[in-house]
Amino acid sequence: MSTLRKEISNGSFCGGIDVDSPLRHFSGATRTTNTNGFAHDLLEISMGPHHPSTHGVFRMDVIVDGEEIVQLKPVFGYLHRNHEKLAEKNSYLGIIPYTDRLDYICSMTNNWAYVLAVEKLSGFQATERAEYIRVIVSELTRLFNHACLVGFLLQDMGALGTPLMYAFREREKILDLFESLTGSRMMCNYMRFGGVRCDLPEGWLDEAKKVVSDYPGFIDQFEALITGNEILLARSQGVGVLSRELAISAGVTGPMLRASGVNYDIRKTDKYGIYSRFNFRVPLGDHGDVFDRYMIRVLEMRESLKILEQALNQIPAGPIIDPKAKNRGLRPKAGEVYSRIESPKGELGFHIISDGSASPYRLHIRPPSLINLTILEDMCLGQTIADAVIILGSVDIVLGEVDR
C-alpha cells in the first residue's frame, strides 16, 4: 500500500509524467540534434483535457519533433467520480444505476457485467427469457457502440460529420428501442439480480426485428461511402500498428486485440449467459493497424446481427426475473468473486469482495478502455499528431469508464 501511495504522490501512477523525468522541464522548445546532425527543436504540446478529439476530458502530453511524436504520455483522471468507493457505501441494488455511468454509451453491458458478478457471488440464476433479453440488449448496444466508434474515428480523420451523422441516425433507432423498454435512452438501469427489471412492451420484438433487418443496409451504405476511400486507406493502413505480442502482454482486450490477430472473445471463451447457443464467428485482423481496427468493428456488427436474428426468433415466453433472487436488502455471504463479460470495448470485469453486509467490502472494476489506453504511446511513437488523433480514436475509449 505504501508503494502505491508513493507512486500516486510522485505522479508516476496512472500515466502522469514522472516528476524526475528530464522531459518534465520541457516548458516550450528545447534544442536537440537528430540523426542527421541538424540542430532543431522539440515542442511539448499538451493535447487536452479540452481538445476536440480526446473524446472527453483526457490529456495527451505529446513531445513532437516537427509533427513527429517523440514521446507521448496519456494523462487521465479528470473525470474521476469515486465510483468504486461509492459502491462500498451503497446497497448491492443501489450500485446498478452507477454502473450505467461507467461507459455511458453502453449502459446495458455495464449492467450485465455487474449483475453477473453479483449473481455469481450469491448463486442466483437468471431466467430463460431474461437471458435472451440480456443478449438482445447487449448485442444492440454493441451495434451502436461500434457504429459510433467508426463515425467518431472518421470524424477524427476529418470527414466533417457526415459518417458520424449516419452512424448517429442508426444509434437513434436503437436508443428509441431502449427508451420504450426501460424509460431511459442511455442510463437504462435495466438489469436486476436473477433477471431484468421489466418485460418487453407490446410489439417491441417486432420493432427490434425491423431495426435489425434494416441494419445491414446501413452497414452496406456506410461501407460503400467510405471503406474503399483512398484517403481513408492512406490514412489508416500501417498507422498505429499494435503487435500481437505487445497486445497480449499489455492485457489489451476486445476488438483491438482481435484486430492484432488474437482469437480471444469472452463470449466464446467463457460462454457466459447463453452465448453458447448462438451461431456466430469472431473476425480477426492480421495487421493490427487503425484500418484493421475499423474493419473489425464493421465485421463484428455483422456478426452481432446474426446473434440478434437468432435471439429475436428464439426468445421464449416466461418470467423475466427469478422470484427467489433477492434484490432489495441483498446480503451475499462473505466471499470474493471476479466476473467478466465481453463489453463492446473489451473485457469488462467486476471484482467484488463481500463481508456479508448489505454493501460490498470492496468493488473493483476492470475497465477495458483504461487497459487498452495504456499502450497508446507504443502505437503513436514515430507517427504524426494527426495519426495520434486517429489512433486514439481507434482505441475506443469512454472517459467515464477510464477514470471511473
Binding site: L43, I45, H51, P52, S53, E67, L154, Q155, D156, M157, G158, A159, L160, G161, T162, M165, Y166, R169, L225, I226, N229, I231, L232, L233, A234, R235, Q237, G261, N263, D265, K268, R281, V282, P283, L284, G285, D286, H287, F291, D292, M295, I296, L299, T384, I385, A386, D387, V389
Partner: protein, 391 residues
Amino acid sequence: MNSLDQIFVTLKQWLLSYVPTDFQPVGSALLSIVAIIAVFGTAFALTTILERKGLGRIQNRPGPNRVGPCGFLQPMADAVKMLTKEDIVPYAADKVLHYLAPIVLTVPIWLAFAVLPFGRNMSAIELDASIVFFFAVGSASELAVFMAGWSSHNKYSLIGAMRGIAQMISYEVPLVLSTVPVLMLSGTLNLNEIVNAQSGFSFGVGQWNVFTPWGAAGFLLFMIAATAESNRAPFDLPEGESEIIAGFLTEYSGFKYALFFLGEYLGLFAVTGLAVTLFLGGWNAPLAFLNVVPSWLWFFAKFGALIAVFIWARGTVPRLRFDQLLNFAWKFIVPLTLVNIAVAGIWYFSSDHLAYAVRWLICAGIFLGFYELLGRFLSLKRAPRTYRYAE
C-alpha cells in the same frame, strides 16, 4: 437584350456622367469597388448559409432553419454575434501582428477581383498581365497565415501556420503551372482576351478550354490546387479542427475571426472565378442559342456550380495527412501539370496536320498515359485485405 447584358456598364457610365471630368477615374474606381464589395459580400453571406444547409442535407439534418425565412437570415445573426463578441488577444501575443494578420489576409484578396471579367465589358481594370497581377495579390494570404500563427504565441497556431505555409506554397506551384497551357494557347496574359478567345461556337457548343484535352486536365488540376490553396476539405490541414483545434485561427475571436472567415471565402471565390474565366469560357454561354441570356448571369451560374462542388467535396471526404498532402503535390500534381504543358504544345503544333478528333485522342492519350504511369509508379501496392474468422 443587349441593354440587359450591358445594364451595369450603362449604369456606371450614367452615374459617372454626373462626376466632373477630372474626378472620373477616381469615381470609376470607387464605383467598381462598391460593386465588387457588395456583390461578393452578399455572395459570402449566401455561401455560408447555403454551405451549412447543403452540408446539413448531406448529413441527414436540416441545417440552420430558425432565423428568418428558411434560415436565410442566419448570416445576419452570425454577423451580429461575431461583432458583439469579446475580442480576446492572448497576453503573450505579438499584438501588432495579431491585429494585422486578418487585415493582411482580407485586403489583397479584394484586389484579385479587380481583374476578373464578370461579364461582357465588366472587369474593373483592364491590365495586359492581369493573371500575373491575380497570382501576385493572391499569394499574400501565405503571409497572413504565418503572421496569425506566429503572433498568437500558441503551439497549435504555430503548427497550423507551419502546415499552412508549406501547403500553400506547395500548391501555388501547380496552381500557376496548370494555367500555363491556357496562356500558351490563347497567347495572352489578359483575362478579358482569354475569355474572348473562348467565345466562338462549334456545332452550337461553346469553344471552352475545358473541352480540349489539355483544358480538361488543366481544369481538374487547377481545381485540386485551388481546393488546397483555399484550405478546404480534404486539404483543410492548417485548420484541421480534430487535430490542432483551429490551427492558426485558435487564438482569434470576434470580428478578427470573422475577417479570417471572410478572407478564406473570398480567396475561394477568387480562384473559382479564375477557374471559370480560364477554363469554363468566362461569361460566354455554353450553347449558341443561349447567348440571349446576359453574360454576367452565365459567369455567376458557373461560379455557383463550382462553389457547390467545393461544398459537396467538403461533406464527403476525410482529410489527408501532412506528408501525404505534400507528396501528392510534388510527386503527382506538379509532374502532371508539366506533362499538360507539353500536351498543350503538341495540340498547338498538330493543328495544321491532323484532324480534330485524331488530335484530341492523341493528346488525351499522352496525358492519360502519363497519369497511369505516374499512378502505377507512386502506388503503394495496397493488397485488398481479407479477414479471418474464428468459430
